[in-house]
């Protein structure tokens, strides 16, 4: 069962070949057996999952089931779950039990999905390797000496290792796409505003966006169908109809105009990855797509601009963690100042602190214009680059990451080297566009992801292109050794 896609499992449930309870038990057993070696889960909610599975079976029997009723899924531990610890990968929230569900969690509940547990992640989603988690790093199932990517590393590894059929992720600078690439799965970051941020713990509010991570584009479509939609509790949520993503999968790729930004294929991209990508692009061409070289001239500025905007927003978003109303509080504070400084100093890890400091500095008197305002202007230039590009092409294709999964510790000593692993994904967040990563092959034992970037609200097209590609290839069916 664990090798089946969500679409296949849903069909099996409907046909009565197995129950949601059996399915859930099977995944819980796999988690128990395999997760200690991978560390994907921060919390496994076995009892709750079994209860939800029974309820789903009743719903299936009653004939009022939706496409995801009875399907186990897992939530990145950044989404608030009522009654279940929501840690955000941080010591700060190690004991935090959210008194409400995130909209995304609520929507999966309403759809009748079964939550298996909460997935490990970089602390407050700040990281590209999952090494900043308070709960220890997640291991890449393809090579446990390598990182799974980040920040949604637990989500990507759990899907790759068949410890869940589908998981949620969040993507602020590549946090869905880069780990999807490193773990050989499919993930989509929707257009900013497509998925509600209510109850999704904020890192950088103007960049954060939740999305699905699964084995196939079809599964992502099924999950996104549940996640997407207007939410009046989120001022940045967009009130716009949600298309039928699964129905859109049947579309043709014939005549699709694909743009290849020359900035994505220059130096800095691993040669082997370039080769693998070229083969994938050839497949798309065979399907009828046309390929055009385009330019995104300001792409090189995306990482610098991002490392002003994201830390600035994070420095303010994370000010609420002060040891007063919830979360970690230091022992025996001697005064108010001590309470603040030590609760925050002890509750946050080094990378989170670095970003808070950078953000605080960038916003402080005398530096605002040089950093924050400048970065926002660059953001405008980058979004203009994309706007012009989408006048010529329908989809932009490139690598998701400049390399395959790297070794633990390889980049921890050099923050900038770590930041540059998101060099191809960050611009998409700055512009608020939808972006996707699709597995397209391997370099040695490690998977390679291809990034698809669409115009605003063009998720259906991205999913369609990815799905057509997956109809003629089988990378998405490969399983890491020991996980099949």
């Amino acid at each position: 069962m664990h090798n089946s896609t969500i679409a296949q499992l849903a069909e099996g449930l409907r046909a009565g070949r197995f129950s949601s309870l059996e399915l859930t038990q099977a995944f819980l057993q796999r988690i128990e057996r395999l997760d200690p070696g991978l560390n994907c889960y921060v919390t496994v909610t076995a009892e709750q999952a079994l209860a939800e599975a029974r309820a789903a079976d009743a719903r299936l029997a009653a004939g009022n089931a939706g496409p995801l009723t009875g399907i186990p899924i897992s939530q990145k531990d950044i989404f608030c779950t009522q009654g279940v610890r929501t840690s955000c990968g941080s010591r700060m929230l190690d004991s935090f039990v959210a008194p409400y569900d995130a909209t995304v969690v609520e929507r999966f509940k309403q759809a009748g999905a079964v939550m298996l547990g909460k997935l490990n992640m970089d602390e407050f989603a700040m990281g590209s390797s999952n090494e900043t988690s308070f709960y220890g790093p997640v291991r890449n199932p393809w090579d446990t000496g390598c990182v799974p990517g980040g920040s949604s590393g637990g989500s990507a590894a759990a899907v790759a290792a068949r410890l869940t059929p589908g998981a949620t992720g969040t993507d602020t600078g590549g946090s869905i796409r880069q780990p999807a690439s490193f773990c050989g799965i499919t993930g989509i970051k929707p257009t900013y505003g497509r998925v509600s941020r209510w109850g999704m713990i904020a890192f950088a509010s103007s960049l954060d966006q939740g999305g699905p991570m699964a084995r196939t584009a079809e599964d992502c479509a099924l999950m996104l169908q549940v996640m997407a939609g207007f939410d009046e509790r989120d001022s940045t949520s967009v009130d716009r109809p949600v298309p039928d993503y699964r129905a859109a999968l049947g579309g043709s790729v014939e005549g699709l105009r694909i743009g290849l930004p020359k900035e994505f294929f220059g130096e800095g991209l691993d040669g082997e990855i370039a080769t693998v990508l070229q083969q994938a692009i050839d497949e798309l061409r065979k399907l009828g797509a046309t390929v055009h070289e385009i330019s995104l001239p300001n792409m090189g500025l995306s990482v610098p601009a991002y490392y002003v905007v994201a830390p600035a927003e994070c420095s303010s978003n994370l000010a609420r963690y002060d040891g007063v109303r919830f979360g970690y509080r230091c022992e025996a504070p001697k005064d108010l100042h001590d309470l603040y400084c030590r609760s925050r100093g002890e509750g946050f890890g080094a990378e989170v602190k670095r970003r808070i400091l950078i953000g605080t500095y960038a916003l402080s008197a005398g530096y605002y214009d040089a950093y924050y305002l400048k970065a926002q202007k660059i953001r405008r230039l980058i979004s203009e680059d994309f706007r012009k590009a989408f006048e010529q092409v329908d989809v932009i294709v490139g690598p998701t990451a400049p390399s395959v999964a790297f070794k633990f510790g390889e980049k921890t000593a050099d923050p900038i080297a770590m930041y540059l692993s998101d060099i191809y994904t960050i611009a998409v967040n700055l512009a608020g566009l939808p972006g996707m990563s699709v597995p397209v092959g391997f370099c040695g034992r490690l998977p390679v992801g291809m990034q698809l970037i669409g115009n605003y609200f063009d998720e259906a097209r991205l999913l369609n292109v990815a799905h057509r590609y997956q109809q003629v290839t089988d990378w998405q069916t490969r399983a890491p050794e020991g996980c099949a």
């Binding site: 608030c80 603040y340 008197a365």
Partner: protein
Amino acid sequence: MEWETVIGLEVHAQLATRSKIFSGAATAYGAEPNTQACAIDLGLPGVLPVLNREAVRMAVKFGLAIGATIAPVSVFARKNYFYPDLPKGYQISQYDLPVVATGQMTITVDGAVKTIGITRAHLEEDAGKSLHEDFHGSTGIDLNRAGTPLLEIVSEPDLRSAKEAVAYMKKLHALVRYLEICDGNMQEGSFRCDANVSVRRKGDSRFGTRAEIKNLNSFRFVERAINFEVERQIELIEGGGAVVQETRLYDSVKDETRSMRSKEEANDYRYFPDPDLLPLEIGAALIGEVRATLPELPDAKQQRFRSDYALSDYDAEVLTATRELADFYEAVVRSAGCDAKLCANWVMGDLSAALNEANLEITASRVDADRLAGLLQRIADDTISGKLAKQVFETMWQEGATADAIIEREGLRQITDSSAIEAIIDRIMADNPGQLAQYRAGKDKLFGFFVGQAMKATQGKANPQQLNELLKRKLDA
């Protein structure tokens, strides 16, 4: 050395919305601690703000009332600082693009009319409260107030004395209550201000260094705090010192201001646009909609009272001090259909005194406008004298009956029948031959004696004017 005082006020008016500016929690005053602080007000992880429409409408209403520009696009910004009553570690406010810009208001001080510029008014959220009673050496935090909408109204440094500052603040206070955007309750902190005070030598064109006095919540404190601060600054400068730009707190018990060093340390607020909120766009439609709800404003009403009711400047000002008082007065005039000046005297006189004594608002008056009008009609048609009317009013206030019922019951109807009054006068003259002789011999002041006797005999019901005339005629005959 002659000194000039320069004052600018930042008034914080709590907007009278039902729910908070960014959450659906109630804003009612006086609830048990933290029972009106929802997840958004507490700044729990993952929560997000959504703007209250009514708060925006109220800001627009204020802007229109002071002839200000309503910004077509304004932006919410985060003001970042750590304080226990500030749950998120930032206050959502407006910074370089406020919703209301450049309006003005006139004040009258000692007969002189002066225009005070209003730089801006912006929307922001209030903070919670720190309770300093001792909890084993801890401070308790109540976040019920956190997220209550505030309109911060910033004046130009156009005020030149504590008196002007108070006049301006009172005028604003009346205005926000007229507009029904703020309940104006200063004791509960619904209307409070920070005063920026500096002094300079007369004739100087440059402003002196200013001190900001925080959180003044009564007109009296505004006046006293400014006066103290002005003297302090003058003494300081004359003694060879210099004023330091700082935040000060007014201590009403000691009647002095003192430095708040704790607030001084952290004044790098790192403002930036709140990424959880989008730009606020206010179009012509909303402005038109709000404009249609604007009531007659205090200045216009005062003008109308002077012309329609022939009231003095003073009377018009007093009667328009609040919308409720003005409405009450007009209801009395309408109902009584008589002398508007008589109505004014009674509303400002006996009625106001009775309200004051009972500590009641005009809207809770025990004698309503119709019944007061009923009494005034009886004065106007000479049914009772003004003096007896006071007595009737007292009874009305206590019992709640109508004037007519009381007059009837107590037999207070004025005696206006000349023959009846003459008969009484004749009897008194006959009973007091000695006094009569003395009066007629030239002792004029005995006239009062006869008036007294006549009033006594009629239990005060004789029409005084009529009595005087008849008495004079008979005594002098």
